[in-house]
Amino acid sequence: MSPDSMVRMANQIAAFFKTQPKIDQAQGVADHLSDFWEPRMKAQLVAFVADGGVGLDDLVVEASKRL
């Protein structure tokens, strides 16, 4: 997956959960990622965050720590 499309997809998920009230939004993103992203994609995300995670929404960065 190109980093651009990974960043966009992850940020899109975060954008939705940011609008949801009264939940742990980072957990919402983390759960969504772990339900629907294949391990390769999750690993790529985690590695990308470790590399600085440029362009990623903070919520994604937080969620990636809970994967």
């Binding site: 997956m1 954008a15 939705f16 949801q20």
Partner: protein, 968 residues
């Protein structure tokens, strides 16, 4: 056409249950008892004497009546005598009354009937022996029934003789053969007007009228200058089916003769899932006739299911397996053993080199449940991974997610009959008259009875205004703003206090409602605030919202114009919110109804095709769900989700995904951003395409396994109303094997050891593992005709309406649906928005319908452009234009129309040489990766022919399709 009752009715396994023509429609009123020919019979009030007689097993002669049409009373053949009444009333138009005493056969009525028949016959060319309807003609039958023995009238003038004594017959009317599938032979018309009424009442197109008077009466399609093809006729076949004579006759019957046996099966095209009788001569299919007991279609059809089956015998069909080492080589025809061995070795080799997760499958929404189940089982049990996805990914995956989150099940809530009880219908992001024609006919019938319609679509679809149907409101939104519009409707409902508070309090989570109410009430969600963005007039939107909330039973039908967006899942939630807010879930006439694109989209989702879900929508992370399959299959199932189609392609480009088994799908044509798909396929080392034709994806394939058509195998399809319908084998597979057998052979070549001998055994395994299918068996389907899941101990007859006493998940969940603009934006380079759709005569990528006479209606994809947008670009109607987006460019012809608003252009994606998907981007739904087909920023400019890309593509395709036949 008459009903063939004998000789095959009741033959085991053909699926036919009593489908006699009862003469007039069924009624539902208080019981009334009368006596007919000495037999007492009780029927509902409002029933005709004719139908009451039929219920008692007495057939009254008739010509102008048919039980799918309101009685008309024109032929007088059905006269009867009723004690205490004068004259001989027509039994088809006379309602029953308590204590009535009817005689259907007296010397007086017999004489009258003979007289009627004599008149008909005097202007009829008595060429019965060579007539296409010989043996299938109600006029013939009635002549026999009334005992017609001679004709006393000497016809002075006729319409059938080409010449009279004095020269050419001025009254002679030639045949109209313009329609590719049926002929109109006016000289045989008896002016019963069944066809006219069928076109009006059943189809709702109003293409036919009765012209002329008395002796000269004949039907006419369109105006005097029209023939069937130039008229408004949509070739649904309802008139042909209604015609009692050979006047309207299928060309296939003219060519092949009348059929001698008949088997009930299910249309393999759209998600309506119409039932048909496949009428056969030996193993030759003579015609497909819509089956009256089919609960989705109630005896109606559209041009695709009725006529477009010729692809099964098209010369392009591939019947031998083929392999090649690289896609630059020509194909080599080989034996099944060799092809399967080659495929199995390659796939196993790839797993050894690149890991267990380096290969996967794509199941098809066009294949049966049984086939789909096997393909996902192949991935999970034989490949040992969850890399299974389906083309439902690219159409209705947001439905699964959105309805799952809000209601707890990912399926439509109603049956199609429900629309007969609706008072207000919202159609959003769907074009039923083209995409789901039989449902559209049923909807239009309800609209003609007074129900109100709200259309939310960027285009002025046919439903907005067509004969005798007009939408109360059309909200022509800018593509990509569904969420804003749906939320604005909720804003009006909540701020004006129009919600159904009782319903929300009892059925939904009240706290969630309060949060939701606060959110939607925010002024930024008002129609006035969003109008600039959505382009929808605020007053019109308010009026629509009020109508939906207060107009009685409100139903929402939606299609891919909802799902195929970056916020597709959010819009589905928004739609569910609207239904819950207004209390429109859980009874007849209401509900949330996804119109599924392909025949078995619902089934493909149910059968565990998605990479995160086992059959029955159970996430692979759930140990108890995995246990069921692990103990039955004796394997370990991966608890992590697998790759979705776009992820497979990404992983292929990255070099970690190397092998694909693709059954019945053409991802190269149907998936967005063609160049990316092609790059993904090209990066794989083993692509196995299992299909009828060398489709576009096969240009990149190494193994081709020939597929079978729906006529050649047993199985089931599940339509948009969750209805499990049987598909019955009516002829042997031309390629040698049903698709389920091919998958089994591939699995076994990889060491699986499967031993299914019939698809019913696969269904038994589905039932044993999937709670919502627990009671489904082929025997049950034989007995009941069809059943809507869930079908289990709790719901032995299935479930026509869902969420009746509460939601599947417990409390319904109102969810906040904030509008978030897609990243796909117009700008100076790409100032227009492209949206895509389909057309009545073609289906999906067109692989089937392009190989039928349906091309007469749609031979190429054209681009709809608003005249204003065209003018500023110097484009005129019919010009070739170049359509460019940041993803690619293609060329096609233009048609100017104000159906699209300024700023919006529209095209279909049925033809590979246009390839609309070169233009579409890789943007997708946030939750499911369903591609954003419906919004692409584009530019349109004059061009003089195909683009370089199109030329390169065409030559690669030609190169790739070369075949070296097997040595004899």
């Amino acid at each position: 056409m008459k009903d063939f009752v004998i000789p095959w009715d009741g033959v085991d396994g053909n699926g036919i249950q009593d489908d006699r023509d009862m003469g007039t429609p069924a009624k539902s009123g208080a019981p009334v008892t009368l006596t007919i020919d000495g037999f007492e019979i009780t029927v509902p009030t409002g029933t005709s004497v004719m139908r009451a007689a039929a219920e008692a097993g007495i057939t009254v002669p008739k010509l102008c009546a048919s039980d799918n049409l309101e009685a008309f009373g024109s032929c007088r053949l059905c006269a009867v005598e009723i004690e205490g009444r004068r004259g001989m009333p027509a039994s088809c138009t006379t309602p029953v009354a308590d204590g009535m005493i009817v005689k259907t056969q007296t010397p007086k009525v017999q004489k009258l009937r003979k007289g009627v028949m004599e008149l008909y016959i005097s202007d009829h060319p008595l060429d019965c022996l060579t007539c296409a309807a010989n043996g299938d003609c109600e006029l013939q039958d009635m002549a026999g029934v009334v005992g017609l023995r001679d004709v006393r009238y000497e016809a002075v003038e006729t319409h059938f003789a080409t010449r009279t004594a004095s020269g050419p017959n001025p009254k002679y009317m030639p045949k109209d053969e313009s329609n590719p599938y049926f002929t109109y032979e006016p000289s045989k018309c008896i002016a019963c007007s069944r066809c006219v009424r069928a076109c009006e009442e059943v189809q709702g197109t109003f293409a036919l009228t009765m012209e002329g008077r008395g002796f000269d009466s004949r039907i006419s399609a369109g105006t005097k200058l029209d023939d069937f093809m130039t008229s408004d006729c949509v070739s649904c076949g309802a008139c042909v089916q209604a015609c009692p004579t050979a006047t309207l006759q299928e060309k296939s019957v003219i060519d092949l003769g009348t059929p001698t046996k008949s088997v009930v099966t299910t249309c393999a095209y759209c998600g309506v899932g119409c039932s048909f009788k496949a009428e056969m001569n030996g193993d030759t299919l003579v015609r497909m006739v819509p089956y009256k007991n089919g609960k989705a279609n109630r005896g109606h059809s559209c041009v695709k299911g009725r006529f477009a089956y010729g692809y099964a015998n098209h010369s392009d069909r591939i019947l031998s397996p083929m392999i090649r080492d690289t896609i630059e080589e020509p194909w080599r025809e080989v034996s099944w053993d060799e092809a399967l061995g080659f495929a199995a070795n390659k796939m196993r080799g790839l797993q050894e080199t690149y890991g267990q997760k380096s290969i996967g499958v794509i199941t098809s929404s066009r294949c049966t449940n049984e086939e789909t189940y096997l393909v996902q089982k192949l991935a999970r049990a034989v490949f040992g991974n969850n890399n299974t996805d389906t083309c439902a990914r690219v159409c209705h995956s947001p439905t699964g997610y959105g309805l799952g989150q809000t209601f707890g099940t990912s399926a439509g809530t109603q049956d199609f009959d429900s629309v007969e009880h609706s008072d207000v219908v919202i159609v959003i992001g769907a074009n039923p008259t083209d995409g789901h024609p039989v449902f559209a006919s049923r909807l239009k019938k309800r609209l003609r009875q007074g129900a109100k319609l709200i259309v939310i679509d960027p285009r002025r679809i046919d439903l907005v205004k067509s004969p005798h149907v007009e939408a109360a409101h059309h909200l022509p939104l800018r593509p990509g703003t569904n969420v804003a519009v749906v939320t604005a409707i909720a804003h009006v409902i909540v701020t004006e206090g129009l919600m159904n508070e009782d319903y929300i309090r009892t059925r939904c989570d009240w706290d969630e409602f309060l949060d939701y109410a606060t959110f939607v009430s925010d002024a930024k969600n008002s129609p006035e605030a969003t109008a600039l963005l959505t382009g929808v007039n605020a007053q019109e939107l308010r009026a629509a919202a009020r109508l939906f909330a207060t107009g009685g039973n409100g139903a929402i039908y939606y299609g891919l114009g909802v799902t195929e967006h970056s916020q597709g899942s959010t819009t589905v939630m928004g739609i569910a919110n609207l239904a819950m807010l207004t209390g429109n879930i859980g009874r007849k006439g209401v509900g949330v109804n996804p119109l599924r694109g392909q025949n078995n989209v619902q089934g493909a989702c149910d059968m565990g095709s998605f990479p995160h879900e086992l059959p029955g929508y159970r996430h692979v992370k759930n140990t108890d769900a995995r246990d069921v399959f692990e103990s039955l299959w004796g394997v370990t199932i991966d608890p992590e989700a697998g790759l979705r189609i776009p992820n497979m392609l990404d992983a292929a480009v990255d070099g970690t995904f190397k092998g694909l088994y693709c059954q019945g799908e053409d991802i190269l044509q149907s998936d967005p951003d063609t160049k990316h798909v092609a790059a993904g396929l090209a990066a794989m080392e083993c692509v196995i395409v299992h299909d009828l034709f060398l489709n576009e994806t096969a240009n990149y394939a190494h193994v081709f396994l020939p597929g079978s058509t729906f006529l050649e195998k047993d199985g089931t399809f599940t339509n948009a109303e969750r209805r499990i319908n049987r598909v019955r084998k009516v002829m042997a597979p031309r390629n040698g094997y049903g698709d389920w057998e091919v998958t089994q052979m591939l699995a076994n070549a990889m060491g699986a050891g499967w031993t299914y001998t019939h698809p019913s055994e696969i269904m038994d395994e589905i039932a044993a593992t999937t709670p919502s299918f627990a009671d489904v068996t082929y025997q049950l389907l034989e007995d009941k005709g069809s059943v809507q899941w869930p079908c289990n101990a709790e719901h032995p007859d299935g479930m026509p309406l869902m969420h009746v006493d509460g939601f599947m998940r417990g409390k319904g969940r109102l969810m906040i649906t904030e509008y978030i603009a897609t990243d796909e934006r117009t700008g100076p380079r790409f100032p227009l928005l492209l949206t895509t759709g389909r057309i009545l005569s073609q289906y999906n990528v067109g692989a089937q319908t392009r190989r039928t006479e349906n091309v007469a209606w749609h031979g190429e994809d054209v681009l709809e452009v608003h005249p204003h947008d065209a003018e500023v670009r110097g484009i005129s109607d019919g010009d070739w234009v170049r359509l460019t987006s940041r993803a690619g460019e293609t060329s096609l012809r233009v048609t100017l129309t104000d159906r699209v608003s300024t700023g919006v252009v529209y095209t279909t994606f049925h033809h590979p040489d246009t390839q609309a998907n070169v233009i579409t981007t890789d943007y997708s739904d946030w939750a499911t990766n369903c591609p954003e087909y419906k919004v692409t920023a584009v530019q349109v400019s004059l061009s003089n022919g195909p683009s370089e890309w199109q030329e390169a593509y065409a030559s690669q395709a030609a190169q790739s399709r070369r075949i070296t036949p097997a040595a004899e």
